[in-house]
Amino acid sequence: MIIQCIFEGIVIGSILALISMGIALIWGVMNVLSFSQGEFLMIGMYLTFFFNKNLGLDPIISIPFTAVIMFALGVLVYKTLIRKALKGPILSQRLITFALSMVLVNGMLMLVTSEFRTIPKVIFTGTVDFGFLVISKEKLVPLMVSVLVTGALFLFMNKTNIGKAIRATSLNKDAEELVGIDTEFSYMLAFGIASAIAGTAGCVLSYYYYITPTVGTSFLLFGLIAVALGGFGSIFGAYIGGLLMGIVDVFAGVYFNTAFKYVAVCALFMLVVSFRPKGLFGK
């Protein structure tokens, strides 16, 4: 049972990690809190649903399409909203993504109603039974994709020139312009990438999860706390924080009840803040 819970926790945690890494990336690079990350996941889910219903694409197959569309959407949001807000007072910078998230959730409620939808048929189904652990393939897919996406993000950020430039932007804005990096370009890429990752999370989440306009809200809350646990600056910390959140989430839900999840997750956050104000991995 405990092993089963850990597995389920890691599955949900790996999705949370995709959200929290996006939040950490955007925060690290441009000091913007992306409250709309959960809604990008939600839109990714609806795109997946749309591709499945109209073109018969399996969520896995639709990942590249969804990711590209979400990247473009992220770039558009950056260009039309974030870039402008960054020229304004700090409170606007904090509120703008919150406002966007409200518009997206409620806009979608108007557009598609709150009806729960699911993807009726996926390629990978069935279970693998180890006795002590039963793995459903519908959950294995999100886990594997999350691991791959995370690996790809790390390679991109650490090995490619553009990825290093984005890191350089987050490390030192003064020096970064002097070596010829366009800060706004880094911002735009970071926002686009975070949005594409959230969209991809939406794709694979729809493998076994219901789809509804408010689905992103709890993912955002947990994702934000995951970032705070990890110490805000680091993408790696956010990833670990996400996994941890997932495990706490599942344990609290199984051994107590669903309402207790929020208590557990937020209490954990408060504990970490009082004992390690800079987060688990913050220095």
């Binding site: 312009e177 002097l178 070596v179 800060t183």
Partner: protein, 235 residues
Amino acid sequence: MLTVEHLCAGYDGTPILHDLSFHVEKGKIMALLGSNGAGKTTALRSVVGKIKPTSGGIIYEGKSIINMPTYKMVELGIAMVPEGRLLFGKMTVADNLRMGSYRVKNKRVIQSKLEEIYEIFPKIKERENQLAETLSGGEQQMVAIARGLMSQPKLLILDEPSLGLAPKIVKEMFDFIKKINQTGLTIIIVEQNAIDTLQFADYAYLMNSGENVLEGTGSELLENEKVKEIYLGIT
């Protein structure tokens, strides 16, 4: 190569520079001297487009660069090594150097530049896989200069390269600056360390409260009564 004329600039409406003019010729070392707070850094930040001047002109190789964004400077051949080094602390030394040639697209050129730099600074090569923040002050300054050189500049701007370095290292640094100048690189150096700098500068300006008050060749200024008074305490 670079001419700054009647420059006025400041921060958020606080004027710092009033009518600053200076000029540097191709292949020369020009020094901008002045006490702490005179506006030297502000002048350099204006040149590289970090600050938008309120009036005046900045002409580089015959063209005005006054409204050019900072990130385009390296493409023009202008590299600045900022005050306080501003390395990417959480990146390796090698990555810091590679970021210096971010705008150089030819991989082979980058590699040969990197090897050239390792040859000049063998110490840096030893540390290439270390995080930049773990280096000593002198080593960090070397990496900062090396990072500037990685963009293959024609004009290298150094803001207080001797800041916080031990006297022996400072001397090494100045020797090194002379050496890279001899390869044809034009250099603007800002220093508080005026007497040492005047020994090797071809031309120098003395700044005070946002304007230049004195100018001349290195040896002229060394002989100047006012400079002696300020920097050597001789009256």
